[in-house]
């Protein structure tokens, strides 16, 4: 579906993408990375909106640089920032975008109504967009991206600016669009949790370089940590864990230990041996930022 070969994009002296190579099959694909990691640049290159400094990329069998128009006709795009005119009604705007995307008027009208219904906008769709809540606007953005029945959806931070409830709803919509409608999706987020919830495949990017590309489940295993809280003699405890062959880091009374087969037993045994007061054991996740900061290159597939 998508193939990028040593894609590089430089803006002056800053490198937004650095020899980025990735092959993706249809599905719901999460693109994670901290803000400014190069996610949006990658999406813009896929649409032919930004020209890569070097490297090639093909989407749905079309070379993007040579056939940008063909690619755009098959792709739906939800930009990260605001993109809706406030003085037009939801239904008129989505119809208009449908027409721009190649649908004849009658079909655009019909599909606009359908798309807006899919995203959960009903009577409100006749109101001016300016009167919508952030959540409703985000839904209109999704509706305009699917109005022309694309084969691939590019969603740039679709949960941006939404409250927790709105995030849940948007993620459910993204998941439904991918699973029930059978549209391939690339969704970006700086929140790993969101990606894990809806995606089957994950691409992690940091400073423009590929950190990980593979199934979400495998990535989850790599990033899981066992948090161990002890009330006494932390350094000695950590030392014993290391001696047992575990990766340990942490500060204060909290230690973070790599999760692997039998780790719970190991911790329990050491605690018993040292007579250390074990206060808590909890399975936690590293934050994405910490992950990349800690082990640059350490999470490559």
């Amino acid at each position: 579906m998508l193939s990028a070969q040593s894609l590089t994009k430089r803006y002056g002296s800053t490198t937004a993408l650095d020899s980025f190579t990735v092959e993706l099959a249809p599905g719901i694909i999460g693109l994670v990375g901290a803000n400014g990691a190069g996610k949006s640049t990658f999406l813009r290159i896929l649409l032919g909106l930004t020209r890569p400094t070097s490297g090639t990329v093909s989407v749905l069998g079309h070379d993007v640089q040579q056939h940008a128009m063909e690619v755009r006709a098959l792709v739906g795009y939800l930009p990260e920032h605001d993109c809706l005119p406030p003085e037009v009604s939801g239904t008129d705007f989505v119809t208009h975008i449908g027409q721009i995307s190649g649908l004849p008027f009658a079909a655009a009208r019909e599909r606009a109504a359908e798309s807006l219904r899919h995203v959960g906008l009903h009577e409100e769709r006749y109101r001016l967009i300016g009167s919508y809540s952030t959540g409703m606007k985000q839904r209109v953005k999704l509706a305009q991206a699917i109005v022309h029945d694309p084969r691939l959806l590019l969603l740039d931070e679709p949960t941006n600016g939404l409250d927790p409830e709105g995030r849940d709803e948007m993620l459910a919509l993204v998941e439904r669009t991918g699973r029930e409608f059978g549209i391939a999706i690339i969704v970006t987020s700086h929140l790993l949790g969101e990606i894990e919830r809806v995606c089957d495949f994950l691409v992690a990017i940091e400073s423009g370089a590929l950190q990980y590309a593979g199934p979400v489940s495998a990535f989850t295993q790599k990033t899981e940590r066992l948090a161990v809280e002890i009330d006494d003699d932390v350094p000695a405890f950590a030392e014993r864990l290391r001696a047992a062959g575990l990766d340990v880091d942490g500060s204060g009374r909290m230690l973070h230990v790599t999760v692997r087969e039998g780790v719970y037993d190991t911790v329990r045994d050491i605690a018993a041996e040292l007579g250390a007061p074990l206060a808590r054991m909890e399975l936690t996740r590293q934050r994405l930022e910490d992950l990349f900061r800690a082990g640059a290159g350490g999470f490559k597939s």
Binding site: Y77, P85, E87
Partner: protein, 295 residues
């Protein structure tokens, strides 16, 4: 699904439908954007407030023509209906329209981020620009050509016999159309080129109307302190005088001797060249602005 729910008229969710119909290309996208922008230029398909300014200006542009036809009908004096002066009377409104609606067409797309959506569709930045330019020019034609066609029909109606009057009069349709197109291109060019530099609609409104008022004032000042040949050419820097000179040339009327354009007595082609030049500069400015938009 229960019988009760069915009886209440439950809407069935048919699930997602794939689109298997026709997909049109770039030409369709350009035409769609042109039509949509033309409607936007009059606030159609938008809220009530968006219609206020364009509709008021249309009214003011038609007013002189309506009054003339009315008076001509009441007094029976066909000679009162004069095309060559019409655009001059409405020049202020044309400038105001360009200042109010050119930003509406292009600045709002940038201000609200909609441009990113357009450019992610099968539509090139230059297509976008061409559609917008044509839309504003077409909208201005309603304001320039419309009232003159009204004058034209009025003249025919005031005449005693319709067909002989039409036969005698139809040739004036050419300069009417030419003058309207020239004026529309001139105002659209200035409006769009200046708007393309502004980041917010209000700034663009102010920039365009400011441009018309300032150039008029500055050129008028230069006109009063210069003399001889230089003074004649200063006329070419004033948008409204250029429009008047162009229209006079097309109608082949001896510009009123005391008017600025009359006294300058420049060859009519010069006004055409200035209009085409302004058009070319504006197009180039727009191309440059939009070409590098997303690199």
């Amino acid at each position: 699904m229960t019988e009760a729910a069915r009886a209440e008229g439950t809407i069935y969710d048919l699930g997602y439908q794939r689109y298997k119909g026709q997909r049109l290309g770039r030409g369709n996208a350009i035409r769609t954007l042109f039509g949509y922008s033309f409607r936007t230029a009059f606030g159609l398909g938008r809220g009530e407030r968006a219609k206020l300014a364009p509709f008021a200006i249309v009214l003011f542009c038609f007013m002189p023509a309506v009054v003339r036809v009315g008076v001509a009908m009441a007094t029976g004096q066909v000679a009162l209906i004069n095309y060559a002066q019409h655009l001059e009377f409405t020049a202020f409104w044309l400038a105001l329209y360009a200042a109010s609606q050119a930003p509406e067409l292009i600045v709002t797309d940038r201000q609200f981020g909609t441009l990113a959506l357009y450019l992610s569709r099968p539509l090139r930045a230059t297509d976008y620009m061409v559609a917008k330019f044509c839309a504003l020019t077409a909208a201005l034609l309603i304001l320039t050509l419309g009232p003159q066609l009204f004058l034209f029909s009025g003249k025919l109606l005031v005449a005693e016999e319709l067909f002989p009057a039409f036969r005698a009069e139809w040739r004036t349709l050419l300069p009417i159309a030419g003058g309207s197109i020239g004026a529309s291109l001139l105002f659209a060019s200035i409006g769009l080129a200046l708007s393309s530099l502004a980041s917010k609609r209000n700034y663009a409104n102010a920039a365009v109307i400011g441009f018309f008022l300032l150039t008029s004032a500055i050129v008028a000042m230069f006109y009063s302190i210069t003399s001889g040949d230089l003074r004649r050419y200063v006329v070419l820097a004033h948008p409204v005088w250029v429009m008047n000179g162009f229209v006079n040339w097309l109608f082949d009327v001896e510009a009123r001797r005391r008017s600025v354009v009359g006294r300058a007595d420049l060859p009519g082609e010069y006004y055409l060249y200035v209009i085409l030049g302004v058009c070319a500069i504006a197009m180039t400015a727009l191309f440059l602005q939009y070409r590098n938009r997303d690199e």
